[in-house]
Symmetry: C3
Subunit: 437 residues, 3 copies
Amino acid sequence: MNMRTDKRLHDRQFVRTFFTTPTAETGDADSAKKLRSAIGLSGMQAPDVWVPDNEDATAPNMRDEGAANIAEVVAEGGAEFPGEIHPRVVWHRDSPETRYTGFQHMLEIADPENGAIEHIDGFVIPEVGDIDDWKKADECITMVEHEYGLEDGSLAMSVIIESGAAEQAMTKLRAAMGNPSNNLQRLFLLVIGEVDYTKDMRAITPTGSLPAWPEVRHNTSSAASAAGLIGVDGPYDDIRDVEGYNERMTENQAKGLLGIWSLTPTQVVEANRNPLPPQEGYWLIDANGTEVSLDEQDGAWVYSGDDISLEETDDGYRLTVGSDSTQLSADELHQELLGLTEYVPSLGDIVNSMEEFEAAKEAGKGAIAMTRAASISIDGVTVEISSDRMWDEATYQALQTPITLFQDVYEHRPDQHEDLTAIYSEDVVERAMNVGS
Amino acid sequence: MNMRTDKRLHDRQFVRTFFTTPTAETGDADSAKKLRSAIGLSGMQAPDVWVPDNEDATAPNMRDEGAANIAEVVAEGGAEFPGEIHPRVVWHRDSPETRYTGFQHMLEIADPENGAIEHIDGFVIPEVGDIDDWKKADECITMVEHEYGLEDGSLAMSVIIESGAAEQAMTKLRAAMGNPSNNLQRLFLLVIGEVDYTKDMRAITPTGSLPAWPEVRHNTSSAASAAGLIGVDGPYDDIRDVEGYNERMTENQAKGLLGIWSLTPTQVVEANRNPLPPQEGYWLIDANGTEVSLDEQDGAWVYSGDDISLEETDDGYRLTVGSDSTQLSADELHQELLGLTEYVPSLGDIVNSMEEFEAAKEAGKGAIAMTRAASISIDGVTVEISSDRMWDEATYQALQTPITLFQDVYEHRPDQHEDLTAIYSEDVVERAMNVGS
Amino acid sequence: MNMRTDKRLHDRQFVRTFFTTPTAETGDADSAKKLRSAIGLSGMQAPDVWVPDNEDATAPNMRDEGAANIAEVVAEGGAEFPGEIHPRVVWHRDSPETRYTGFQHMLEIADPENGAIEHIDGFVIPEVGDIDDWKKADECITMVEHEYGLEDGSLAMSVIIESGAAEQAMTKLRAAMGNPSNNLQRLFLLVIGEVDYTKDMRAITPTGSLPAWPEVRHNTSSAASAAGLIGVDGPYDDIRDVEGYNERMTENQAKGLLGIWSLTPTQVVEANRNPLPPQEGYWLIDANGTEVSLDEQDGAWVYSGDDISLEETDDGYRLTVGSDSTQLSADELHQELLGLTEYVPSLGDIVNSMEEFEAAKEAGKGAIAMTRAASISIDGVTVEISSDRMWDEATYQALQTPITLFQDVYEHRPDQHEDLTAIYSEDVVERAMNVGS
């Protein structure tokens, strides 16, 4: 139904990782060394989409050599690479010269005589402008396809959104993509390029750090949904800040932006892993405005921070959150704790719930209550909590995204099977592949 | 002037509540019991718009019976129901079969032989896609109107925004609604459907809770304004969390989204009440980043939290907010407290200010200072504060929205007169009906 | 390349300040006194764009006199005024009568017999609606130009965005501006009018304060970028709240909205100054979620708040942030402090870094590490920190915006040279004028 699940011209419904590699290094005996290293990656270190980057990552005077390097390295190693390969060429909405150079580089990389084209899934076009500029790039790729006898639309086109004009163009894709005078159905990824977007918007921050741009991330995700494409967030500059990178991904996922740019194999591992559900479920508590995860100890979930305290009193309990202290009966405490806590389900938990709902549906029930119980321990006082959540068809479908993602990954990335089984166990993986639809 | 105040095809300028009810229950002797119960509501428990929900709230195999139930129950009780009645039928941008079923259900519900149509104000169409899909739904309703000899556009059409495509379509309404080849002037409510929107956007949160989607709420409100329609926020799942529901409404109102979905009569009461000004005005203080309301005691407004403290010293005052402590003169303290406090006016306060401004305007003045004074008490130290706010025509008009809302409610909901008078007093209600153009 | 740097029809690439003045005061012997006072401003007190405001700032019955006053005062003093002059006339998307009055006022102000037109740079049109309404205003200005033999498009047109319809119209500018049947290339500023926008959106806040409208600010900035225009934020009502006004500007700059409305000469000074880099650089520390600036004392940067504490222990250091306390080695402490601190560069710092990168590029290097070192002192414990940041062409260009802004200001505002030199020193100013591009 949904264009993304029709898999139209591309195989993947989801892309977690978009990993760029310089195509040519000055002053190195083997100027393609980084390309050779990247194409050898596999498992959790290999991205879903690998981008030999003949634009910003490569010095301007090395880009002709870079294009040649891409052709050579992909011809050699492309057959074994587990992800898709989408080289980035140069392009600029304001420069016909740059566009012509990008076109020439595509012609070179795709030349069948070089032997790379059978492993190339598409091209990444940076610095696009309004929809007419996107059509120019599409036309260049169409000419490449015809020059070499490839099928119309067989090469995907992904773009980097790094201008206000491109941001507006995204709202016109759905209508433009059906037009017989273009092949825009080849569109694949909408990738945000925050560094150049910041420049185009002329934004300033006191420290020179990148603005968070929440609205661009929303607009990209919504446009991807409307046009059946896949949204990807831009690079996270501070490559040592693993925690910050993961926080950004969690934020993005709540916007429907499940993919992110990776600059290093370490970032690739984090980005391949982050959108998948955790191995073990755990409880969160709202500690005076901050979500804190509880530690499991002897079957109880223990809070050990300073923002919440709990003591038994003669006639019940005294619960203190921040500077608010209240006297509660056992029942009231139960209600209060239900309000403060939330459970983060593991992949196994999600599979269990889905199987349970599917069985109920089979038996003719439209909605069932899922119960979740736990012992919560604060300051040595342990309280049993238990809550019911009603599941109906809508809940079932809305919570299915992590499973669909998992299935897409498992289907397209056999090189990650071992890792996934090690994380989740064979039983959970097998059941996860069978629930849903 | 404004399309919304022209009241075009619909009567209501404002809709506070959008209340859905299942249309048929499996295994119940009277499968329409919930419909019968809902159509009997009145006063603060009755919604502005009641939606017999023949889509998600009703099991798929019960929907034919549901359509029949709607016709029967509305025929019986529709004349007495104090709000508008807009049944929701099935529809899906990706499924011609579902669209055809929805069309058949509309034909059945609207059949004059069933006696319901004179009480039906319109239909709610879920899961719409791009603007062309909206036009298909419009056309189905036009055919229903012609089949039964109803006037063109007499049935309103409300849509649920639950896809990126629909989000984009909202920017095209203003231009499309004037086109003679459709009857899109029948459009009434733009309702956000966050559960299915989350699914369509493929968003994930760790706990499975709904993302907040601030941008969709803005886009819906702005599109409603541009096209002369009314924006309504989606359901708030946690029906026991009354405080959270009210916080969500306050947030929405700052976005111009004055209506919200209600799942229970209790939620209806909250949602009918929340956008109206309070019965009594009160003061807020900024307690180290959190707005806290002060308690009135013996004519003074008392702060009793721990985040602000105040003491008299030999040469003035020491004010401590969080960990910042400053020594202040009486004048400086007055300034500081003016900065920290804000007044939330009651309906009576707003009416007073408007009357005062109208009298000044009558007397030839374009701007007047409104004075607001209070005694603020912290740690037993009481300080008199007083501030002037300049009111001009723009202030007057911008602050008029709660009054216009009140007048719209009072005019269209006689069944709430008694409640409104009990809350605000007869005098305030009468004056509120007379201020403002 | 970029339309904004092509300078198309207008001279300025940046506008920091948009200062409105009433055009006629009731009951004053010289009803144009405020206009005369404003046109005499210069230096940091004079705005980039001065707006004699014949709409909201002037009483309705004084507007004919206001138009005459504008012509008279600008004829007298326009030659000496250091900024651009763009009078605001009346206009309303819903009122042909108001539009006709605005047209008449433009005809009067621009009449060559009045001698003002050679100093008038354009007009500001409030309350615009959809793109067709913008075209009507454009056409009125075209007729004014033809009536008086002015060149097509020589009068700029700026609009106030104060309706959902205008918000949507901004996405259509790029395509409309190339159309030979209009002169929309005259567009200059997109100014947000939050007070009337709030009214149009029918938004409510409990205290009657303005909503923050982050999405409108984003949409305006993005549309300005897409269409080669300049975005400006609306008025900040609380004219005594200098700190709040500056915080709003810092927030806006991160959205690419570098200009803001000013209601008083004091606000003009703040708004002229705020987007330029500081005179002296300084360090920030993340004190448990709040960014706090450190004080320089004897060469060290000292934190003196209560949220972070640091002590030496037998085997290293104990760092406490909020209620989290950790034992760290010297190396770990260094890493931790690097993560918590950030440097805000001065204009001189930015010039230094850019010169250094330009020299490296000249010498054939594509990327260099910029080192920033400092002594950070907490609770008397002093720690040396040092970090490298890689600069490549993209970093260089993204961080260039403050310099481009500075150069634009320096070029167009000779009356501010003295102030700028006093702030930054002659040496830094001269070097700032030479780096970049």
